[in-house]
């Protein structure tokens, strides 16, 4: 069954086109990575999926319904962790439950059940400023999961972490995903991360985003982080790298042309 479908979606911020006739289908239970240069519109894609933004054209359907509002039905983990400094770890994680009207006590009890699995059992009552970067990301992820939504949108969850913590978190997320059976879309700018976690990788090359190039990652689960050293994995990474490079060459050619314009071309030509 299709969890999330973008069909013929157009979106722009004023004059700036971000998506153009964009199609995407995410199946129930899938893990999909999205990779692309920064500023290409990845976060915008998530804001559309979560219902914060509406497309200027085309339709987005969640659970096969294109009409029902999407706000409140998707677990969104934003690029910044956005934890509330006036709340403790447990209180932060309990936020979506409170929003849904669960009494505070019951919400906190529910959070406490989950904390061990997130390696946060000892930190339930800690304030946010006591946490390491990895722990903050786990609180943020727990908060997204506690929305109860079946679709999780993770926007560069590990980009702020150091290499070792990041690899640990990747394995941990993969393990969690297998246990929870949720549908996950992950934005990243790390090639290894994209391929290691996902069933397929969508490469967004340039703005406006049209049809994304799709790269299947046919390795069976459970996977380990050591997979990244397999030759067949290297081939996939190479493929992604080429696609992203292609876009750079594209822009390089454009710059090359404009460089050869006579002086004053810019002032006169764009008026």
């Amino acid at each position: 069954m299709s969890k999330l479908v973008f069909s013929q979606v157009d979106f722009s911020y004023g004059e700036q086109r971000i998506l153009q006739d964009f199609h995407l289908t995410i199946r129930q239970g899938e893990f999909v990575s999205i990779i692309g240069p920064s500023g290409v519109g990845k976060s915008t894609l998530f804001q559309l999926a979560s219902g914060l933004l509406e497309p200027t054209g085309g339709t987005i359907s969640l659970d096969g319904d294109a009409v029902k509002p999407r706000l409140g039905r998707v677990g969104y983990m934003p690029q910044k962790d956005l934890l509330m400094p006036w709340r403790t770890v447990a209180e932060n994680a309990a936020l979506p439950l409170e929003i849904q009207g669960v009494p505070k006590k019951a919400a906190l009890a529910r959070v406490r059940e989950e904390l061990p699995r997130f390696g946060l059992a000892a930190y339930a009552d800690a304030t946010i400023d006591k946490l390491s970067g990895g722990m903050r990301q786990r609180v943020s992820l727990l908060r997204a999961i506690l929305t109860g939504a079946d679709l999780l949108l993770l926007d560069e969850p590990f980009s702020a972490l150091d290499g070792i913590t990041r690899m640990e978190m990747q394995e941990w997320l993969l393990d969690l995903w297998q246990k929870l059976g949720k549908t996950v879309i992950l934005i990243t700018h790390d090639l290894d991360e994209a391929a290691l976690l996902a069933d397929r990788v969508l490469v967004l090359q340039r703005m406006p985003i049209q049809q994304p190039v799709e790269i299947p990652v046919p390795f069976p689960h459970p996977r380990s982080a050591a997979l990244r050293y397999e030759p067949s994995f290297t081939v996939i990474r190479e493929q992604m790298w080429k696609l992203l490079k292609e876009r750079e060459q594209g822009t390089a050619v454009l710059y090359g042309v404009s460089d050869q314009q006579p002086a004053g071309w810019k002032a006169g030509g764009t008026a």
Binding site: L71, Y76, L82, W86, Q100
Partner: protein
């Protein structure tokens, strides 16, 4: 928070006490060594003595009058100030309409207004409260408003993805985010409120510490005047400490413990 004071705050209190004692000692010494005439600058011992001899009028009447002016002025300012800040934060037209006047209220030369204030309010309590409000309305409105606007728009969007209503966003994100800023405005307001009440009394009054200090200086009773001023200073400090305590109680603290 534990009941035991933090070592750092205890040493702070110690320093403060020591500096106060040193201040009074130096003051006393300067008066005695240079034989300053007491009507120019009375030594603190004379001021405290005057505080004692005038205790019935000071504590029985005037302190009470000024305290009620300050408390009522402060309460009214908080209520009106927060209401205006809330209205401005939910509606752009209201913000455009009100904001200039909030600023203009700060440029009014209050002393020049004294005849009209006496004309409007006579020697009543209301006049002093009105002046106090004019004095402290601004820091409360501006700080509360800034605080309400400070709520991270990305945080608000995150709450919206959780299906939060406007009310929930307001209660769970905007209010807590505004509290630190509100309290810094309140601290300023609490100390200004004493000055506001005193100026109100100068414009026209028959009781209150401002009135009493002015009358004492009219009679060249410098010791009584300084006694009154000391009392006013204590009052300002007490109000400041009360608001600081409320701030600690109601806003999150970045903990300093390891």
């Amino acid at each position: 928070m534990s009941a035991i004071p933090h070592p750092e705050s205890r040493s702070k209190a110690l320093w403060f006490t020591a500096s106060i004692i040193a201040f009074f000692l130096i003051w006393e010494l300067v008066c005695r060594l240079f034989a300053v005439p007491p009507f120019i600058l009375p030594p603190p011992s004379a001021a405290f003595l005057a505080m004692w001899t005038e205790r019935e009028l000071l504590f029985g009447k005037h302190l009470w009058v000024t305290t009620s002016e300050v408390i009522l002025g402060l309460t009214a300012s908080i209520i009106c100030g927060v209401a205006v800040a809330l209205a401005m934060s939910v509606s752009r037209p209201i913000e455009r309409l009100f904001y200039p006047y909030v600023v203009i209220s700060q440029t009014i030369p209050y002393m020049a207004l004294s005849p009209i204030f006496i004309y409007w309010f006579g020697y009543s309590l209301t006049g002093k409260i009105a002046i106090t409000i004019l004095f402290i309305f601004f820091p409360i409105v501006v700080n509360t408003f800034d605080g309400l606007r400070a709520a991270d728009s990305e945080m608000i969007n995150l709450l919206r993805t959780m299906g939060a209503t406007r009310r929930q966003i307001f209660l769970k994100a905007q209010i807590p985010a505004a509290l630190p800023s509100f309290f810094s405005g309140l601290k300023v307001a609490a100390t200004y409120s004493v000055s506001g009440a005193i100026i109100g009394e100068w414009l026209g009054a028959s009781a209150g510490l401002g009135y009493f200090a002015r009358r004492a200086s009219g009679y060249f009773r410098a010791d009584t005047m300084f006694a009154t001023i000391l009392l006013l200073v204590f009052m300002g400090v007490a109000l400041f400490m009360l608001t600081s305590w409320l701030e600690r109680r109601f806003t999150y603290q970045r903990s300093t413990k390891p």
